[in-house]
Structure formats: structure tokens, C-alpha cells
């Protein structure tokens, strides 16, 4: 029995969607993989099917999954590319300014930074 803890902030459908997105980013769900049916997810996570459909619908709207008639939902070929693009954008918008601020506060120069990153190339 899967015990899932939903946090009480965001709506459940959004949280479910984020979970699926996380599985895509981690490579657990790859392009061409089938998503479990709405019924299965509803039963397993004890959610109403409308919540599950709504999460799936948002994923479809963002072209991360596609509906194949009579078969169900599948991860699209461009899902990982799209996710990578949006994650990059999010990093630059939300995380990078904080990192940059810290770099400046610590007085690190470009040379210092490039030296440490050298091996990672």
C-alpha cells in the first residue's frame, strides 16, 4: 500500500504533476513510456479521478505527454528537451541570482571560479 504524503500548500493535482515531472527529469519516465492509467493512479494514491485527469491534462497542455487514442498517455519525444529548457530557464531566473549574489559577497573572481570548474569540462 503506497502511503503518499501530500503537503498542504499547493493543490493536489499540481503536486501530482510535479511528481511526474520529477520522474521525467530523473529519467525514471523516458520518452515513449506509458503513464499509468487515471484509474490506477486514483486507486493507488486514493485520489479522485478528476484530480488525476487534471494533472495529466496539464502535462498534455505542456506537450510533456500525449494521448494515444485508446491506449492512454505517453511521454513525448520532446519531453526531456522541453523540461531541460524550462529547468534551465528556472535556474537562471530563480537560483542563479542567489548564487551570483553569494559569489560577489565572497569576492570570488572569474579566474577562481573557472579554476575549480576546469576539471568538470
Amino acid at each position: 500500500m503506497t502511503a503518499v504524503q501530500w503537503s498542504d500548500g499547493a493543490p493536489i493535482y499540481r503536486q501530482l504533476k510535479e511528481r511526474v515531472v520529477a520522474m521525467m527529469l530523473d529519467g525514471v519516465l523516458k520518452p515513449g513510456d506509458a503513464l499509468p492509467s487515471v484509474r490506477q493512479v486514483a486507486a493507488e494514491y486514493q485520489l479522485n479521478p478528476i484530480t488525476v485527469s487534471r494533472a495529466y491534462q496539464e502535462l498534455a497542455d505542456e506537450a510533456l505527454v500525449e494521448k494515444r487514442r485508446g491506449l492512454g498517455m505517453y511521454v513525448t519525444e520532446e519531453a526531456s528537451r522541453k523540461l531541460l529548457a524550462s529547468e534551465r530557464e528556472r535556474f537562471l531566473r530563480e537560483e542563479w541570482p542567489l548564487v551570483l549574489e553569494r559569489i560577489q559577497r565572497l569576492g570570488l573572481s572569474t579566474t577562481d571560479l573557472l579554476q575549480t570548474a576546469g576539471g568538470a569540462k
Partner: protein
């Protein structure tokens, strides 16, 4: 999700229902609608009128007011109505001497929409055997039998009155799991009453609180999540918070106060302290304060 618009006609339409037992009103001007394809939780303290409301829907008691279930009056068209309505109640007992096989035969004989093969398939996954008698079954197994019988009937409305009362958590989970996986779809409607609010709150699409025979909350779960916000108010913001008229207030150790707001913008509340969406159980406790006083 169905694109058709036939979803507008309510499955149940109740107007000004009234039912008095001795000198207590079990239904007091009770008015509500239930749309098709929904899972509605009817929640209220003991003696609030939940079972009375369900009995009225099922045509089991006389009452005053206007009630339509699937377009029919349960008082005068109960037989026709029962082709499309099923229920499991804690009180609906199967005779103890009956064998599982006989129970299936009985329902198969009386109900035109009963699918015997379906029922047997549901039972296949359980420890129930055709030759077992009801008196040999545990409470959990009796509910499994009940559920298998009911899920094999292609009904439009399923009424569950405390269906998992007295069951352990494994049986309770399995009960709702079966219902969601093998039964519910957008053509069906389920009404459920339970005291285990936390366990089913995410299964519900709609919720109704009933108190002293009156519906005090009737909303889609989505709206509940947006309407109600709980705030952990810092001591220095107490007056500002009270000015926004919380519907409930309780103090915690270390000088913090939790306030519950209905319909105040989250952005406005965020300035007062940490916010969160209350669970149904929290809402229930706040709404029903003083019930047994």
C-alpha cells in the same frame, strides 16, 4: 472527462426537506443538489441527520419537502428508482446463515442489472469462498462481499453510509481502492458518509457538512482549498488578524495563535504569518464547535 453537456441535470435535487423525530429535527429545511460523476462526502457529527438524509434519498422514510433522485420521487417511485441506485449501510446486514454463493444467487435473481461474472471476478481476489457462510466471515470479509455484490450492479448512484465502520486500515484502503479502480466513472455518482475524514478527503470531489439537519457547507473540494486558509499568527499581529474576522481561533504554546479564514485573500493573510490550507478534519472541527456542548 466528457465533452457532452448532459452533465447538467442533477442526480439528486433536494428542496426544503424536513423530518422530525419526536421533538428533534433531523432534516431542517435541507436543500442541496448533487451533480453526476461526482464523489460527494456527507460529513457531520453523530445525530446531525446524515443517515436520515440518505434514507430519504433511498425512499426508506417519509419526510416533507421536494426530493428528486434521478428525476424520480423516492416516496412514490421507489421500485423504479432502485434499478439505478445501490447502497451499502453499516446496518444492512446479510443473513448469517446465508452462503456466499446464495447471496450472489439472490442478488442475481432480484436485480436486472447484476453482472454475476463481474461479481465473481471481484471475489476472486479475496479469501471468500462460495460455500462460506456469512457467520464464518470477519467484518472485513462481509464488507468485501457487500462491495462485490454492489459493484457488479451497473447503477447510476451508489450510497455508502459509513461503509468502512469498524474495519481495519488495510480493509478501509482496499475498499476505496477497489471502488476507484473497478467501479467509479464519470457516469456514476457516489455519496459517502464517514467519520474517517482524513482518509477520504482526496477521493472526494465535493463535500457537504451537515449540522442539526442543516447543510452548513456545500462546495467542490477545489473551492474548499481556495476559500479556507489557516494562518499561524505572530503575537504582534493578533489585532490585525482579528480585524479580518477569522471563523475560528485557537492558541498554541509559545504565544502563537492559529486562525482560520473563509474567503480572505491568501496574499493578504501571508503578511500575518505562515499560511496553509486546512484539512477537512480541521475545517470540520472548526465548523462544528459546540455541537455537543
Amino acid at each position: 472527462m466528457n465533452a457532452s453537456n448532459d452533465t447538467l441535470a442533477p442526480v439528486i435535487s433536494a428542496r426544503n426537506l424536513r423530518k422530525a423525530y419526536k421533538n428533534k429535527l433531523a432534516l431542517d429545511n435541507t436543500t442541496f443538489d448533487v451533480a453526476p460523476g461526482r464523489i460527494l462526502g456527507l460529513i457531520g457529527p453523530n445525530g446531525a441527520g446524515k443517515t436520515t438524509a440518505l434514507k430519504a434519498v433511498l425512499g426508506l422514510i417519509p419526510f416533507e419537502g421536494d426530493l428528486r433522485v434521478l428525476g424520480r420521487d423516492p416516496r412514490s417511485e421507489r421500485d423504479e428508482l432502485m434499478n439505478d441506485v445501490c447502497f451499502i449501510a453499516d446496518v444492512a446486514v446479510l443473513p448469517r446463515w446465508m452462503r456466499v454463493r446464495e447471496a450472489i444467487e439472490f442478488v442475481s435473481g432480484v436485480h436486472p442489472r447484476f453482472d454475476r461474472a463481474r461479481c465473481e471476478r471481484f471475489l476472486h481476489g479475496t479469501q471468500l469462498k462460495p460455500q462460506m457462510r456469512v457467520r464464518e466471515l470477519s467484518k472485513g470479509m462481509i464488507v468485501q462481499l457487500h462491495l462485490a455484490l454492489v459493484m457488479a450492479i451497473d447503477a447510476k448512484l451508489l450510497v455508502l453510509d459509513e461503509p468502512t465502520l469498524g474495519l481495519d486500515i488495510l480493509y478501509r484502503k482496499q475498499f476505496y481502492q477497489r471502488l476507484l479502480e473497478d467501479y467509479f466513472d464519470e457516469q456514476k455518482t457516489i455519496i459517502v458518509t464517514t467519520h474517517q475524514v482524513e482518509e477520504i478527503e482526496h477521493i472526494l470531489t465535493d463535500v457537504m457538512f451537515i449540522r442539526d439537519g442543516r447543510i452548513v457547507l456545500d462546495a467542490p473540494m477545489e473551492d474548499v482549498g481556495q476559500r479556507y486558509v489557516e494562518v499561524l499568527v505572530n503575537a504582534d499581529r493578533l489585532e490585525a488578524a482579528r480585524a479580518l474576522k477569522p471563523i475560528d481561533e485557537r492558541s498554541l504554546p509559545f504565544g502563537k495563535t492559529v486562525m482560520l479564514f473563509d474567503g480572505v485573500a491568501r496574499s493578504q493573510l501571508a503578511a500575518l504569518g505562515e499560511t496553509r490550507s486546512p484539512g477537512l478534519a480541521d475545517l470540520f472541527v472548526a465548523t462544528m464547535k459546540g455541537t455537543y456542548a
